[in-house]
Symmetry: D2
Subunit: 429 residues, 4 copies
């Protein structure tokens, strides 16, 4: 799956440590793969909030001077991939606003349903919107007079009326609040750090980096309040008849392989998918290679299950970044060339199985396959550790629209033709 | 008057020219002295708005790539000095929001009265605030359902209920709106550019730079709508019993000497103030010098009226900027030293009259006077082309609080002592 | 092997293509792993040379505006790792100077022997040195009157008197010259690009990216002149009794796995080293993992030869860069933590073989091993696909001094203890 | 005179103070008007030299982190305007090299005669040149074996053989050396700072800023050695028959008005030139205005001598900088418009005398005159406080070539026509 389509947002919150902002910086850094558009941290010092939010990578947005100003023992942070809303700095999160109950900061991972309708309703009642994010809509709901009156009850009431995918971190000058939608679409985990600190974040790889211990997942429909008196857990979803509905893309694409998501280590999940793929779509071949790094775990799983040797078919350039100069047309150098180069000695004369986690538009995959052909592959068999991506998902993944998804418009056989493959196999559902 | 206290905000709007954003860039550049904190331009292309706003000087905030993206034949821009609200990028203007009637951008020069009370009321009804500016408050008022229903009438109704100082530029995808408060505290002028373009801006020096012709001042209580059909002027202030009440600081401090403000050329006003000062506070002296550049016009006026020769007593370093390295304490080099150096040959052995436009805290003035003493002045007589600044002004000038104003806490005689002057004279009211 | 010790310099030259500088940019980008300190390109347009050289990565140093100014159909470029000379911009290459024969640019990969003695001799004769590089010494030799007189003969004479490791690219306004020392310590390859262009560079991965065809290695002792009349090859080393002496570190550490170096594909060499390692140091274990990315090929080789399954034991953070904020001491977060995270499910309860390409100081390796222990490894067996690094190499690799090399001061058994390993095996010579 | 033509280089050296580099920073800052191309500081700590040199303004080139690294109690600095050599960073000064006697840094203000011939001679003997500056030539001369042998005698011998204009600062790890050419073309002054420090710099305005006391000018043909034992003065010019020959452009254009140059305060010199101009070229007029800031002192002198009132005819935009966006052609906004705006009330209907210090190409002056006409001037009389600039000067001023100088190609009467003036008067020699 290409970078454009694979990311989500990342959340990190911590309560009860010195230099909470600095720890949040590392927590975001570990989850940078979940969003490269913008980064932000808001800290609370008991009296007020301090914020720094900007577009760019965590290491671009924050310098020591910023972290020094973000005083306090509580902080929340966010890295964003634009699921809704463009790349405007005003869409960067956490969002910090004043409302009747004082100051609040809010960070959101997910996508609401019926957001546009609700937005229209608010506007009809005189509300103004500074951003195009769902997050601002949530703040408007929180700020409604009836909610504000009752504080924590108001928050719970607001959350119970939201539809869609959401993991939320909220920060007031005194309190850190974390919540996860009743379906549990997106991951949110709870950990302990140092002697008595609490951490809430999207992926366990952030716990690992800040030396926090994984305690448990925040449950679907759970809201957690953390303040000086400690942690309190409640359920905001009155009738708990909702089915948990984890987003499979988290395990297949988004999360880092070393993270534990929805209770399973992502790498293990992908190994198993690769093994299943080998069973569903076996082929006679000489070597199994992956499209780095998205196909790495799946390829190892496929190789183990099939008995075909695993090898490194492509080498990734470590310096691939954002500010690359575009080659002129005549150079015929593509972004794909810059990122990966095939290892000819591994490929030449071989029947190659190449494993990846998805095919979105098809253009990137075709480039990879042509590279393998140019490197001398005798046969190229592609295996995708996921079912065909046939429709855009409305729960927080910003896929290309359906018309752009190759699997939405062609049969597997047509795609095989289009990509000039000897065989193509998707994992079944 | 020190830089910190002398600035206000600058507005520039243009309708009906190709590259409206580029012209706005120049219009803001000419008015940079009105605000160095942030700069922003929003353009309209008939369908939507395009915005770029950031902290910093106009030349720092905008590159060609930004201007190229700000498409359209209509644009408004703003340079800001923080009259209310800190240096956060979220306070930078124009503010762009979505509300029931669509998109609107708004830029404001002035300060509202009772802003905090109104803000509290809005919050009590569920509104949220992203910034600490009065401008956002105006947007909330505009967005109230009853206003929105009736469009232009709604805008007029909102303006009629505002109290305080305001010049406003508003931009929708189709229309440019300009308005000035009924007292006319702050300046706003109307000009024509090229064959059929309209310009609205704070100072005429911006008209000069973009080669626009000055037509007239926007009248107190006037609202101007400019769209494809042309310009329409209306009055939003139902009962026109309000007294015009121009802010004298505009002519004394804020405006560029080459601008025409409230009908008079600023330089001429300051010449006359200097001449009056010579009549009210004559002194036997050998030379009249100014504190550059704030006292330049006043000093020439004083010299002419008194017959004492004018000379250059201080030379200004042209490279004074913002990112200066602080000298260590031991170097005894002050910011004042870096900015100005006395011309010893002009000062030595002379009885010197030094003219400035204000004394705020007194520390800067004392530094200048010590420089003159160190350069060998026999006597130092300070003349201020303005009455003592005794209280902070609530109409848009961010003076130090009253406790910091030297004239609020000391008599003229005490200030003379404090500044180690042979004599001190303020202009009477 | 740590980054600090593993890099060398990278060369790229091209003759006979439009936009030679732009192609050189890509050629350097592909070889960025050979040097991150500085980057430079010099182009020739038939009349003069155009240069841009600065400290930083290729993508930091060059923007489109620079490439546009580097006109001409011939260019050479250099990425540098400071084998000698600090990080001063003046040491960045190519070096461009004026001398009696006109302008010349020169780029060098390697280290000369007796450089300091020769430098002293030149200084005693009145020469001045602007840099601390060996490259400047070569230029002084080229500029000696007797060399200049005879042009190409002079260049050959100069090269024949150099001792040590050197691959050189030289550029005059009309001619590109490439040479390799008689021992052939460092790699240099020749390729063709587009219809009639020539490329000379350090590694074949650069040929791949610019779509050039590999022709052959530049031979030890060979000098190649490329100008409008085409390519001429000569031998500058009169008596060809010198033994070829390839630097094994090129294949073991420096080069990209997809490059062909000294005739062999690097990945294949490393696979074979891993396989030999499995034969020399077998162990009963459950999983083979690599230290990414330096140990990847070796680990696959070890796994294949030993029959123990290969798996991903560590996940690398893709965002590891240079401008990272140092965590405070109290955070106990190390640079190693930021770079890699173990996959607990792969490690827990397992007997782990971890493969890397070297142990330099030992501190980094100890960090990795502790990570594996913390992740629950039952046993940790380290295998190094190279003999112990016992002394600094004087042919162009800037190793830590001998006192810092752990293998120079301890026996293998002592290192095993120091690193808290269950077993440790180095490849024999 | 336009900025392009008016600048020279600025030198600052200090011996015997803590934080010598920091004081040098301020000394350069005060002399920034002498060169905006590049800035550099080299410090000596008794053992070695520390350098930081780059293109840009002093405030752009240096941050606290640089000054902190420039350790030692002795330092020299340089700001450069490219009298010879382009804007390449390699031409920035001070130049730091190794030669037989060790490390030396050198900074130069002036232009040598016969530099190209000497350069060719050096190249013929095998020397290489990294820069296109005369400074490097001086270093080559210093490094010749016969000079090096005798140290201070060698320096004196080298200086005695130089022809042209030069003020030099040299720095070795132990010693600061300052020298001025026998004609004394360029200024160089000596001061004392704090209890026992010495300062050597181009203009006294730098002494003022660092709180140093002016002692005397360095004499033409004098060389000063400052080390731990104190200051020693010698004469390097054996036969002292040379005529002092001060560059009049220093007083007319280059220097800051508050500086004392060649014994006179620059502002006073310019007042006197303005007064002479009034005597030589009287005119009936209503107002005298200056082209800011180059004509300010001259205009005051003219006004006083003629009895015609002085007023501010143009207002200068304080934000004029380097990174300005070019207006599109259609905007008809020129760089001159951006820099200055006429004060219409001062000009309208008046007979205006406008004073400047030079006319170089004529294009800038014509722009100013047209502004005055557009502002309603009845008559425009230009007065230039300097003789016609008829030929490029070869002693360190980088004038446009003779063909571009308007006065070299036209009579005064023709220039008057060309500039559309009512009258034009140059000062006689």
């Amino acid at each position: 799956m290409t970078r454009e389509a694979r990311e989500s947002c990342g959340l990190f919150g911590v309560h009860g440590v010195r230099d909470a902002a600095r720890m949040t910086y590392f927590g975001l850094y570990a989850q940078q793969h979940r969003g490269e558009e913008s980064a932000g941290i808001v800290s609370a010092d008991g009296e007020t909030l301090h914020a720094h939010v900007d577009v760019g990578l965590v290491t671009d947005v924050f310098g020591s001077e910023h972290l020094d100003r973000l005083r306090g023992t509580v902080a929340i942070g966010h890295v964003r991939y634009g699921t809704a809303g463009g790349t405007d700095v005003r869409n960067a999160q956490p969002l910090v606003v004043d409302y009747a109950a004082g100051k609040i900061a809010i960070a959101h991972n997910g996508n609401l349903i019926e957001a546009n309708r609700m937005r229209d309703e608010f506007e009809a009642h005189g509300s103004i919107f500074h951003t195009t994010t769902d997050t601002e809509l949530i703040v408007h709901m929180l700020a409604r007079p009836k909610n504000v009156m009752v504080d924590e009850e108001g928050v719970k009431y607001t959350l119970s009326s939201l539809k869609g995918a959401f993991c939320l971190l909220m920060l007031t000058p005194e309190k850190l609040i974390a919540a996860r939608d009743p379906n549990g679409f997106r991951p949110l985990v709870l950990g302990r750090v140092r002697s008595k600190g609490w951490v809430v974040c999207s992926e366990t790889c952030a716990l690992d980096l800040v030396k926090a211990r994984y305690i448990r997942d925040v449950a679907p429909g759970e809201i957690v309040f953390i303040d000086k008196k400690g942690l309190r857990s409640e359920t905001f979803c009155v009738k708990r008849r909702v089915q948990p509905h984890h987003c499979i893309f988290e395990q297949v694409y988004f999360a880092r392989p070393d993270s534990r998501v929805f209770g399973d280590v992502v790498h293990e999940v992908r190994l198993a998918l690769g093994a299943n793929l080998a069973k569903e779509h076996p082929v006679e071949a000489d070597v199994v290679v992956s499209v780095p790094d998205s196909g790495n775990s799946g390829a190892i799983g496929y190789a183990r299950a099939s008995g075909i040797p695993y090898d490194r078919g492509f080498i990734r350039n470590h310096y691939v970044g954002r500010t690359f100069i575009n080659p002129r047309q005549s150079d015929r150098i593509t972004g794909a060339d810059v990122k990966l180069n095939p290892v000819k000695s591994v490929i030449r004369g071989k029947r190659v199985v190449v494993v990846d986690d998805s095919i979105i538009r098809g253009t990137t995959s075709r480039g990879r396959i042509r590279m393998l052909r140019a490197a001398g592959a005798k046969e190229v068999h592609m295996r995708i550790s996921c079912p065909p991506t046939r429709h855009a998902c409305y729960y927080g993944i910003d896929f290309p629209t359906t018309t752009e998804l190759i699997a939405a418009n062609y049969t597997v056989e047509e795609i095989r033709d289009e990509l000039e493959l000897d065989s193509l196999g998707y994992l079944s559902v």
